[in-house]
C-alpha cells in the first residue's frame, strides 16, 4: 500500500492545494510542503526498514498488482527495488526543496502552481515505481503536462517557446516508445498467447535480432531525448533557463534521471543483445555529450543556461557508464544520478536566489558578491567543486567509478571522457570567478542567504559531502538491483564479461 500512498498523497495534495487557494494564498504552500514532507518521511522509513535494518532477500522489496484494463492485459502494478528506492528518496528530497524554493518566488496563481508541482512529482514517482509498460508510458506523460504548465505560465521572458519545445521533443520521442511498447506487446502475445504489458513477463520475450534492434531504438529515443544526449539536447538549455527555479530544479534533478532510469530498467534488461551491439555507439554518444556540453557551458553568459549545459555534460557520463556493461560503471551511474541531482539542483537554486536579488541571469553583470554574501559564496564554492569532481564530494565518487568501469569496456573512449573532467574544472571555476570574485560589485545592496535559503542549502551541502566521504549506503542499496541486471547478461556473454563482473564487485 505504501507505494500507492506515495502517489495518492501527492495527487490528493495537489488537488487540495488548488481548491484551497480560493480562500487562502498561504495554505497551498503548507499543503504542498506537508505532502512532500510526509512522503519523504515515509520513503526514509521504508529505506531504514528494508535496507538498513533488515536487508531484503529478493531485490524487489515491495510489489503490488491490481487489474486496470484487463482487455489489454494492463495492470496497475508497482514494485520497489533498491534502485527505485534511491530514486524516490532523491525525488522527495528535491521535491521538498522545490516547495521551499518557490515559497517567495511564486505569487501568481499559487494554488494551480502547487497543483502542477505536486503532479509532476507524482508522475515521476510513478515512473520510478511502475512495472507495467503501459502504466509506465502513462506516468511518463503525466509528468510532462504539469511541467509544461510550470514552464509556460511561471517561466521567464521566453517561456512559451521553451515550453513548446520541451513538450514537443519529449512527446515525439515518447510516442516512438509507445510504438515500441505496442510492438513488444504483440510479439510477446503472439509467442505465448498471453497478451500483457507486465514488465516481468515481457522480460522473457524471445526477439529476433532485427525486431530487437528496432524496438530498442524506440525505447532509446524516449530516453536519450530525456537524458539528454547530443544531438537531442536542444530543448534542455531553453527549458532549464526559462523555467522557474523549482522547475529547473525538478527538470535537472529528476526529469533527466527518468531517462537514465529508463535505460537501466528497461533498455538493458529487455533488449540485452541489441543493447550490447549498441554499446560502443552509446558510449561514443556519451563522450560527445560530455565534451560538447562542457565546451558550450564554458561559452555561456546566462547563468542558468550555463548550468543547463553542465547537465548535458554530466549526463554524458551516465550514458558512458550504462553502455559500459559492468557493475562498477553501473554503481557509478546510480551515484551520478543522485549526486548530479543534488549538485545541479543546488546550483539552480543558487541561480534563482541571485536572480531574485539582482533580476538578471547575465554573468557579465555579476561579480564580487563574496564580500557582501560570504555564506552564499561558501555554499556555491562547495557545489562548484562538486560539479568539477573534487575528491571528497559525491560527484567525484560517481564519475571516478564510471570511468573505472568504462576503462574495462573501451579505453580510448574513457580517455576522451576523462578530458571532460578537465573541461568541467574550467567552466566550474568560471562560475565562481565571475560571480563571486572580482571587484565589479558596485554599490547595489546584495543580501546574504536568508534563513529559508539556508534551510535548503545546508542539507544539500551536507548530503553532497556525506556522499563523498561515505557512499556505502547508496552502493549497498543499489547493489542487489544492479547485480540482478548483470546476472541476466552473464549467462549470455562470453567469459571476459564475467571476469569484468568479478573485478566490478571488488569495490565493496
Amino acid at each position: 500500500m505504501v507505494l500507492i500512498n506515495f502517489i495518492v498523497i501527492l495527487m490528493a495534495g495537489g488537488i487540495l492545494a488548488w481548491v484551497v487557494s480560493r480562500w487562502s494564498a498561504a495554505a497551498p504552500k503548507w499543503i504542498a510542503l506537508g505532502s512532500m514532507g510526509l512522503n519523504l518521511v515515509l520513503v526514509i522509513a521504508v529505506w531504514m526498514e528494508n535496507c538498513v535494518v533488515h536487508p531484503a532477500e529478493d531485490s524487489w522489496i515491495i510489489k503490488l498488482d491490481y487489474q486496470w484494463i484487463p482487455a489489454f492485459g494492463i495492470n496497475f502494478s508497482l514494485a520497489l527495488d533498491g534502485l527505485s528506492l534511491l530514486m524516490l528518496m532523491l525525488t522527495f528530497f528535491l521535491g521538498f526543496l522545490a516547495v521551499i524554493t518557490s515559497w517567495k518566488e511564486i505569487t501568481y496563481r499559487v494554488g494551480f502552481y502547487y497543483f502542477n508541482l505536486l503532479w509532476v512529482i507524482a508522475g515521476i514517482t510513478g515512473v520510478f515505481l511502475t512495472t507495467d509498460l503501459f502504466l509506465f508510458y502513462f506516468f511518463w506523460e503525466v509528468m510532462l503536462i504539469p511541467m509544461y504548465f510550470l514552464i509556460g505560465i511561471w517561466g521567464h521572458e521566453n517561456r512559451q517557446y521553451a515550453a513548446y519545445k520541451f513538450f514537443i521533443f519529449t512527446q515525439a520521442s515518447g510516442l516512438l516508445m509507445l510504438l515500441a511498447i505496442a510492438g513488444l506487446y504483440f510479439v510477446h502475445g503472439d509467442q505465448t498467447g498471453n497478451y500483457t504489458f507486465g514488465y516481468f513477463q515481457l522480460l522473457e520475450t524471445q526477439l529476433s535480432p532485427g525486431m530487437e534492434r528496432w524496438l530498442m531504438l524506440g525505447f532509446l529515443a524516449a530516453f536519450v531525448v530525456k537524458l539528454p544526449i547530443v544531438p537531442f539536447h536542444t530543448w534542455l538549455p531553453d527549458a532549464h533557463s526559462q523555467a522557474p527555479t523549482a522547475g529547473s530544479l525538478i527538470l535537472a534533478g529528476l526529469l533527466l534521471k527518468t531517462g537514465a532510469y529508463g535505460l537501466i530498467r528497461f533498455v538493458l534488461p529487455l533488449f540485452p543483445h541489441a543493447a550490447h551491439e549498441f554499446g560502443t555507439w552509446g558510449m561514443a554518444l556519451g563522450v560527445v555529450g560530455i565534451i560538447y556540453g562542457a565546451i558550450l557551458a564554458f561559452g555561456q553568459t546566462d547563468l542558468k543556461r550555463l548550468v543547463a549545459y553542465t547537465s548535458v555534460s554530466h549526463m554524458g557520463f551516465v550514458m558512458v557508464g550504462v553502455f559500459a556493461f559492468n557493475e562498477l560503471a553501473m554503481q557509478g551511474v546510480v551515484m551520478q544520478m543522485i549526486t548530479h541531482g543534488i549538485s545541479t539542483g543546488a546550483l539552480f537554486i543558487l541561480a534563482g536566489s541571485i536572480y531574485e536579488r539582482i533580476h538578471t541571469r547575465e554573468i557579465t553583470s555579476m561579480g564580487g558578491f563574496w564580500i557582501k554574501a560570504p555564506f552564499m559564496g561558501t555554499i556555491t564554492l562547495i557545489f562548484v567543486l562538486a560539479s568539477l569532481g573534487l575528491p571528497g564530494l559525491g560527484n567525484f565518487v560517481a564519475e571516478f567509478l564510471t570511468l573505472l568501469g568504462a576503462w574495462q569496456a573501451d579505453r580510448l573512449l574513457t580517455v576522451l571522457a576523462t578530458l571532460g573532467l578537465v573541461a568541467a574544472t574550467a567552466y566550474s571555476l568560471r562560475i565562481m570567478q565571475r560571480v563571486f570574485l572580482g571587484m565589479k560589485s558596485g554599490e547595489a545592496p546584495f543580501e546574504d542567504f536568508s534563513l529559508r535559503e539556508k534551510i535548503m542549502m545546508v542539507p544539500l551541502a551536507v548530503v553532497i559531502i556525506l556522499l563523498g566521504v561515505y557512499p556505502h549506503p547508496v552502493f549497498s542499496t543499489a547493489e542487489s538491483s544492479i547485480a540482478k541486471l548483470f546476472s541476466g547478461f552473464s549467462q549470455e556473454q562470453p567469459a571476459s564479461t564475467e571476469k569484468q563482473l568479478k573485478e566490478g564487485g571488488a569495490h565493496e
Binding site: 486496470w68 484494463i69 484487463p70 482487455a71 489489454f72 501568481y108 496563481r109 503501459f134 508510458y137 502513462f138 506523460e141 503525466v142 503536462i145 509544461y148 504548465f149 509556460g152 505560465i153 512559451q160 515550453a163 513548446y164 513538450f167 514537443i168 512527446q171 515525439a172 510516442l175 516512438l176 509507445l178 510504438l179 505496442a182 510492438g183 506487446y185 504483440f186
Partner: protein
C-alpha cells in the same frame, strides 16, 4: 413485413414521428422550449428503447437493412450524441433572434438519416440515408441567415454535397452494371467469383470513394470542411463533426467488412494513401490557423485519417478500435464545439483565438474542460483520446501496418502543436480593456459539458467498461 420486423425499425420510426410531432407543435404555437423538450424526450425515448430491447440479436430486413450489434451500438452512439447536440443547441439558439423551432425538425431528420446509414446493407438504403442526412444539413448549416458566412457555408455545402452525391450515384450505377445487384452481400459474392477486378467495378468503387470521401471530409475531398465548420452555428458544427461523419465511417467499415476489402490491394492502397494524406494535410494546415473552429475543422480531417488507420487494420481489433475511437472522438468533439457554443454570444461565435485569452483565469471551469478536450484530441493520457489512439496503434501493430502506425505517431506530434497553442492562449495572463464576448450561461449546456468532460476522463482512466460493451455488441454480429 410482420410485427416483429416493424419493432426492429422502431428507432427510425420513432425519430420520424418525433419530427412530425415537432412540426405539428410549431404550427399550433411557436415555443422554443416545448420543441426542445419534445426533441430531447423523443431522443431519450429512442435511446431507452435501444438499451432495453435491442442487445444481442442480428436481424436482417431484406433487402435494405441489417440490424446487428455493430449497427445498434453506433445507432445508440448517434442518438446520444444528438442528444448532447440538442442540449448545447437550446441555450445557443435561445440567445439568437431568428425563428429557432424548425432547427429541431432538421436535426431529428438528420439523425434519422445517420441512423439509417449505420444499419444499411444496400445501395438504396445507403443513398436514402445519406440524402436525408445531407438535405437536413443544408438547412442547418445556413440556419442563422443574418450572418454572412452562414449563407456562404450553406451554399458551399449544398453544391459540393450534391456534386458528391452525383459521383456516388454514378459509382453505384457502374457497380450495379457490372455486378447486377445493389446488395452488399450480392456484390461480395460476385467479387469472390472473379480472379481479378474488372475495370468498370474498380471505376465504380473509385467514384463511390469520391462520394464518401466528400462526406467524410478526407483529403483530397476536404476543401469544404474549414469553411462549413466556420460558417455553421457551433452546435451544427458539432453535429457535422460527429454524427454525420461517424455514420459514414460506420457504413464504410460495414461495406468493407462484407466485401472483405482487405483482400484487394487496389482498395487498400487507395485508402492508405487517403489516410496518410488526410493526417498530414489536416495537421499541417491546422498549424497556421488562428480561428478555433477552423483549427478544429482541420483537426477533424486528421482524425478521420486516424480512424482510417483502424479501419485499414481490419480484423476484430480494427472494428473495436473504430468503435472506441468514435466514442472517444464524439465525446471530445462535442465537448470542444460545445465550449465554442457556450462562449458565443449573439454577435458572433467564439472562434477567434483572442476570445480564449486568459480564459483559465476568468472562467476556470470552462477552460479546464476545454483543456481536457484538447488534450484528449491530442491523445494525451488520462483522456479518452489516448486510449482511442492506443487502440488504433494496437490494431495497426497487430496486423503489421507499420507505415500507417508510424505516420500516426508522427502526426500526433504535429497535432500537439496547435492543440497546445489553444491551451497556451487560455493560460496567458489576460489583458485589461479589450473587447470580450458576453455569453449568457445556462445550466443545461454547462451540465452537458461537465458530463462530457467526465466521460472523456472516465474513459481515459477506466476504459474497461466501454471495451467490454463494445466487445459484447460486436460479438453478436
Amino acid at each position: 413485413m410482420n410485427n416483429v420486423e416493424i419493432i426492429n425499425l422502431l428507432p427510425g420510426i420513432l425519430l420520424g414521428c418525433a419530427s412530425v410531432l415537432a412540426l405539428i407543435s410549431i404550427t399550433i404555437k411557436r415555443n422554443h422550449k416545448f420543441t426542445y423538450l419534445v426533441t430531447a424526450s423523443s431522443l431519450l425515448g429512442v435511446f431507452y428503447f435501444l438499451i432495453t430491447y435491442a442487445v444481442n440479436r442480428t436481424i436482417t430486413l431484406e433487402p435494405l437493412f441489417i440490424i446487428d450489434g455493430f449497427g445498434l451500438f453506433n445507432t445508440g452512439l448517434i442518438i446520444i450524441s444528438t442528444l448532447a447536440v440538442v442540449m448545447i443547441s437550446y441555450p445557443y439558439f435561445e440567445q439568437r433572434e431568428e425563428r429557432k423551432e424548425e432547427y429541431y425538425i432538421l436535426l431529428i431528420l438528420a439523425t434519422l438519416g445517420a441512423s439509417m446509414l449505420v444499419i444499411s446493407k444496400h445501395f438504396v438504403s445507403l443513398f436514402l440515408g445519406l440524402e436525408i442526412l445531407s438535405i437536413s444539413l443544408y438547412g442547418m448549416i445556413a440556419y442563422l441567415r443574418k450572418r454572412e458566412r452562414s449563407d456562404e457555408a450553406g451554399i458551399k455545402y449544398l453544391i459540393l454535397a450534391a456534386f458528391s452525391s452525383a459521383f456516388l450515384l454514378f459509382g453505384m450505377a457502374l457497380v450495379y452494371a457490372e455486378a447486377g445487384t445493389m446488395d452488399f452481400e450480392g456484390i461480395a459474392v460476385y467479387m469472390f467469383s472473379l480472379d481479378e477486378l474488372p475495370l468498370i467495378l474498380v471505376t465504380g468503387f473509385g467514384l463511390i470513394i469520391v462520394g464518401v470521401g466528400f462526406k467524410l471530409g478526407i483529403v483530397p475531398f476536404h476543401l469544404w470542411t474549414p469553411d462549413v465548420y466556420e460558417g455553421a452555428p457551433a452546435p451544427v458544427t458539432a453535429f457535422i463533426a460527429t454524427v454525420s461523419k461517424g455514420g459514414v465511417i460506420v457504413l464504410l467499415v460495414r461495406f468493407f467488412m462484407i466485401i472483405q476489402g482487405h483482400q484487394y490491394t487496389v482498395l487498400v492502397t487507395t485508402f492508405t494513401v487517403l489516410a496518410i494524406a488526410s493526417m498530414f494535410v489536416g495537421n499541417f494546415l491546422a498549424l497556421r490557423q488562428n480561428n478555433v473552429k477552423r483549427i478544429l475543422a482541420y483537426s477533424s480531417i486528421a482524425h478521420m485519417g486516424y480512424i482510417l488507420v483502424a479501419f485499414l487494420a481490419g480484423g476484430e481489433l480494427g472494428a473495436e478500435a473504430v468503435c472506441f475511437y468514435l466514442v472517444a472522438y464524439f465525446a471530445t468533439s462535442l465537448g470542444a464545439f460545445g465550449i465554442v457554443a457556450v462562449l458565443s454570444d449573439e454577435e458572433r461565435d467564439a472562434e477567434r483565438l483572442e476570445d480564449y485569452k486568459g480564459l483559465l483565469w476568468s472562467r476556470p471551469w470552462i477552460a479546464s474542460t476545454f483543456t481536457a478536450m484538447l488534450l484528449s484530441l491530442a491523445g494525451i493520457p488520462l483522456t479518452a483520446g489516448f486510449i482511442g489512439k492506443f487502440y488504433i496503434i494496437a490494431a495497426g501493430v497487430s496486423t503489421h501496418r507499420w507505415l500507417l502506425v508510424v505516420m500516426l505517431a508522427v502526426n500526433s506530434v504535429i497535432g500537439l502543436y496547435y492543440y497546445i497553442k489553444i491551451i497556451a492562449v487560455m493560460f496567458e495572463r489576460p489583458e485589461e480593456g479589450r473587447p470580450v464576448l458576453h455569453p449568457k450561461l445556462y445550466w443545461v449546456n454547462l451540465a452537458t459539458l461537465l458530463l462530457l468532460a467526465v466521460v472523456t476522463l472516465w474513459l481515459g482512466m477506466n476504459p474497461q467498461g466501454m471495451i467490454d460493451l463494445i466487445r459484447e455488441f460486436l460479438g453478436s454480429t
